[in-house]
């Protein structure tokens, strides 16, 4: 509910809002990711709940001013819990005509449109495919509150006295835009000012220029006659504690370092750069003093096989990649599976097949991760629900790997990886320890049996160098207990079943499936991965509107929680929204014979809350 009051000496109106969605968009060189990130930081530090969605262009650097080069960053900040970066945009900042053209459709009616008027000149207009200047055409933008601001020239004037080159001066215009939006939403710019001072510590002229541009933008908001209203969003009531902002990739890196520290082990990361997984490598390579070894391998295959080697030699070993890279790792994962060695393989999914949509999100690797190895080779699969959840699920993946002596797959996606949200910094004492035991018996005349099993069907993990436990492992089928090569038909049947049962048995050691909403009813919505926020919000709204609907979000995909079949039976219908053409749906249908229907979207974009809500209503009303 919005409230208004008149405040401030300059008589501007301050309106209070619950949640706001802002999108910065411009050319990929305009610093829009930076503007978005800084706005997120100041909002998070202020105490709002935040959720972000960066949108990178697929081209590394499309020609400036073209539609293909538009980069965007959307933030939702709120005084209550939020789970998504929002459906519709309240305020759109467009730095050029291409950005306006590609983004204006998402701006809600009556929303604020701030444009860099200077950029709307002939060549930019034609690059964006405009025949005439849309800013001159009152009708096309009539639905919005348009603020035409000559940001380039105002920025140039603001920094004029510093003697920067025209190019350097104009590069500060993103700070002007930030300043203006900071005024509009009454943000305290201090964290951004501190960031600028430390970021450009070695270039004092850039510190001054960016700060001047930021303040000029802020002051423009105060003084200009055109802007009469600004807005306030109060801090959110999050559970008490200390918070910071994390992206999914950061949280994955933190989760693995934590797992290694808890286990008292070295962390080995073998990886090959690929969007959107590379940041995990970047984060971990900074953390060498945490006893982390990172190995940038020559290719994806070397990355996974180095992990196999490191795991064999006793490290907690992980690799991360995205779809095409995971495809290449298939054989190495199979090797890890037959040798029964612990390791975690992270798939940060993106649009496919092949190179597909490298910078856009999708959930279409589920089949590959579930089935994409030769032979009968089930592996445990877990999937975080949000950026902050990556911290927990990375530890869960490692715990399962070590306890059950198996490779484990962790399915993230581009939306989670690059998105950010507040993360409650955990108390170290609250973290679940990870126990690692290595077989280390001294030679006593008895032969060591590398495939002897414990109650979880896990075989012993021996660090080479341990006397008396010398043994050989490999990709050929092994005889149980002795680990000797054995191709006999009965043995292969026995070992295939044993490995499958071992993975299925993990169900006894993971949490049962919970539902949000009524325990039985008309409809159960099942989701997994990064669609959590949109589905959770859509279900909440639908319940409020009186519909009989509940939500089960799966974080354990193989094995499924053991009560999942019973949970499904409690509802008349099942809806499975996924950013693919129905992969979980087929697996659920196949596993539980449930007549699930799908909501499927493969546009490289996350679900809107409204899309899910509409589908829920349709399914319940059987339209």
């Amino acid at each position: 509910m919005a409230t208004t009051d008149v405040s401030g000496a300059n008589g501007k109106i301050s309106e209070q809002l619950d949640a706001v969605v802002i999108r910065f968009c411009g050319d990929s060189g305009d610093g829009m990711q930076l503007a978005g990130t800084q706005f997120t930081n100041v909002s998070a530090v202020f105490g709002n709940d935040v959720s972000t969605l960066p949108d990178f262009p697929a081209e590394i650097r499309a020609p400036a001013g073209t539609l293909g080069g538009v980069s965007g960053f959307q933030i939702c900040f709120s005084s209550s819990d939020i789970y998504t970066p929002g459906d519709e945009v309240d305020t759109l900042v467009a730095m050029n005509p291409a950005a306006l053209k590609t983004n204006v459709a998402d701006l809600k009616r009556g929303g604020t449109l701030i444009v860099n008027e200077d950029a709307f000149e002939k060549s930019n207009l034609s690059k964006a495919g405009y025949e005439s200047n849309p800013l001159d055409d009152e009708e096309s933008l009539a639905a919005y509150q348009v603020q035409k601001v000559p940001m380039t020239s105002l920025t140039r004037d603001a920094v004029a006295e510093l003697g920067l080159s025209p190019r350097e001066a104009e590069r500060c215009k993103n700070f002007f835009a930030m300043g203006l939006v900071y005024w509009l939403y009454q943000r305290d710019a201090t964290p951004t000012e501190e960031w600028v001072k430390s970021k450009f510590a070695k270039k004092p002229e850039l510190v001054e220029a960016n700060l001047k541009a930021l303040h000029a933008g802020y002051n423009f908001g105060i003084t200009t006659e055109a802007m009469t209203v600004h807005y306030r969003v109060d801090p959110a009531e999050l559970p008490p504690g200390k918070y910071r902002k994390v992206t999914g990739n950061e949280a994955i890196a933190f989760g693995f370092v934590t797992a290694a520290t808890l286990a008292g082990k070295k962390l080995f990361y073998g990886g090959y750069p690929i969007t959107p997984a590379s940041d995990i490598l970047h984060e971990l390579s900074k953390l060498k003093n945490f006893n982390v070894v990172t190995f940038q391998a020559e290719d994806e295959i070397a990355a996974i096989t180095s992990v196999v080697g490191a795991s064999y030699a006793g490290d907690l070993a992980i690799t991360a990649s995205s779809g095409p890279g995971i495809a290449l790792k298939g054989e190495g994962m199979g090797l890890g599976a037959i040798m029964e060695l612990p390791m975690v393989i992270v798939d940060v999914q993106r649009g496919g097949p092949s190179t597909g949509l490298p910078t856009k999100t999708e959930q279409s690797d589920l089949y590959m991760c579930m089935f994409g190895r030769n032979g009968d080779c089930p592996l445990p699969l877990v999937a975080p629900a949000s950026p902050a959840d990556c911290f927990h699920m990375a530890q869960e993946a490692m715990r399962i790997a070590v306890e059950f002596m198996t490779p484990v797959m962790l399915l993230s996606d581009g939306y989670i990886a690059n998105g950010a949200e507040p993360w409650q910094i955990p108390e170290m004492s609250s973290l679940k320890p990870i126990k690692v035991s290595h077989e280390n018996r001294q030679k006593d005349g008895e032969q060591f049996m590398p495939y002897l099993r414990d109650e979880k069907k896990a075989r012993p993990w021996v660090v080479p160098g341990t006397p008396g436990c010398e043994h050989r492992v490999g990709g050929l089928e092994k005889s149980d207990v002795t680990g000797n090569v054995d191709y006999s038909p009965q043995n292969h049947q026995y070992m295939t079943t044993l490995r499958a049962n071992k993975i299925a048995g993990i169900a006894d050691f993971i949490p049962e499936q919970e539902v949000e909403g009524p325990e039985s009813g008309d409809l159960l919505v099942i989701s997994w991965g990064g669609t959590y926020g949109a589905v959770r919000t859509a279900v909440k709204h639908s319940i409020k509107e009186g519909l009989s609907v509940a939500h089960a979000h799966l974080r354990y995909l193989n094995p499924f929680p053991k009560n999942l079949g019973d949970v499904i039976k409690n509802y008349k219908k099942v809806l499975i929204p996924e950013l693919n053409t129905g992969q979980l749906r087929m697996i659920i249908r196949g596993t539980y014979l449930a007549d699930a229907v799908g909501l499927n979207k493969v546009q490289g974009k996350p679900f809107l809350i409204s899309e899910v809500k509409q589908k829920i209503r349709e399914v319940i009303e059987d339209k």
Binding site: A44, V45, F46, G47, P191, P235, E237, L238, P239, G241, K242, Y243, R244, K245, F254, V257, T261, K266, F268, G270, L287, K288, N289, F290, N291, V292, V293, F295, A297, E298, D299, I301, A302, T305, S306, V307, V308, G309, A310, Y312, A313, G314, D315, L335, I425, P426, M428, P464, G465, P467, G468, C469, E470, H471, R472, V473, G474, G475, N484, V485
Partner: protein
């Protein structure tokens, strides 16, 4: 009471596993296995510190036959697996066992990178110029025109020279020997074991089933003396049954065979320098191929450079000295935080 802290004295037998060896009778692999078992006990390294990693192929069954730690991995990837093993546990002595198809076809990429990084592992390439395990197709070292099941009209590929590839990747140790040349092979394996950095050894290996006699020129008594030349550091390149021939550089700096005497003295010959930082000599030696030239056997190149694993741990150490031991709480609390 005194405690005996000396290492147990090991013998070749201690390195023999209980697994039945399934190579074809008279396969050259038996000899390489036997020489390896002879060399390892002489190194003063406890048995449990050895790890043998292999790829796929006949040679790659090798780890099963050694009573050490071992992994029979997947096609061509043994160098990457071994890199992971060595990085995880630098105390281990890691050997890679591979064949010409395994290392130069499917694993060409990893072969090149383990060498250029100088990871402290020993790579033994069993070269028989044929695919034995898949029953006789030509390999990347088979001479052009090789007739096999997959090349009934003769192969049209140009072969790779493993030593040229290794030297091109800046191998810090590169050597060659022959399976049946027992003493020479032992010596080369021992030197590889003692090298700090990636040691590359090509072993000419006889596949008597699919490519019998491919290296007869280098193994047959009475003939090999005329066809191979044994490299010794600091010594002139002399060969022949009567040690009456040598290698000299001609006016184009190309090697040529000359007869000693008749105005040519030892001082006119090319002298071997395995420690040369410049790789030209090693390249030149690798380019000498039978039948045009006698083929060199022995250590082509042996130079000292920092190893990859050392460099990795130096960074871990200096990062820890600079930033202190990792503190999760401090890490989580970096950047902007707020309290609710």
């Amino acid at each position: 009471m005194s405690v005996d802290t000396s290492l147990p004295v090991l013998s070749p037998k201690d390195f023999a596993s209980d697994q039945e060896i399934r190579w074809c009778p008279r396969c050259g692999d038996y000899s390489i296995l036997a020489q390896m078992k002879k060399v390892l006990p002489t190194l003063g390294i406890p048995k449990e510190k050895f790890v043998f990693v292999s790829g796929i192929g006949c040679s790659s069954r090798f780890p099963y036959y050694m009573d050490t730690y071992g992994m029979h991995s997947i096609h061509g990837r043994a160098p990457a697996v071994a890199t992971g093993v060595k990085l995880a546990n630098p105390d281990l002595q890691v050997w890679v066992i591979t064949g010409d198809g395994d290392s130069l076809s499917i694993g060409g990429n990893h072969f090149m990178h383990v060498l250029r990084r100088n990871v402290d592992v020993k790579v033994i390439l069993f070269n028989n110029q044929i695919y034995g395990l898949t029953k006789g197709q030509y390999s990347p070292t088979s001479p052009t025109g090789t007739k096999t099941k997959s090349t009934p009209f003769g192969s049209v590929d140009r072969p790779l020279n493993p030593l040229s590839v290794a030297i091109g990747a800046r191998a810090t140790f590169a050597a060659r020997s022959v399976d049946v040349d027992i003493k020479h092979l032992c010596n080369v394996l021992e030197r590889a074991a003692n090298h700090k950095g990636t040691a590359f050894v090509e072993v000419y290996q006889d596949c008597n089933v699919f490519n019998s006699g491919a290296f007869a020129f280098a193994s047959k008594k009475g003939e090999k003396e005329e066809n191979v030349i044994y490299l010794e550091h600091g010594k002139p390149l002399i060969f022949g049954k009567d040690r009456d021939k040598g290698i000299r550089l001609n006016s184009h700096d190309q090697p040529e065979v000359v007869e000693l005497g008749k105005g040519v003295t030892e001082d006119d010959l090319l002298f071997h320098d395995e420690k040369s930082e410049d790789m030209n000599l090693a390249f030149l030696l690798a380019s000498m191929r039978y039948p045009e030239m006698p083929e060199p056997m022995g250590v082509f190149r042996c130079v000292e450079h920092p190893t990859y694993n050392e460099a990795v741990y130096d960074q871990v150490k200096s990062a820890t000295e600079r930033n202190g031991e990792g503190d999760l709480e401090a890490l989580f609390n970096t950047g902007d935080t707020w309290t609710v």
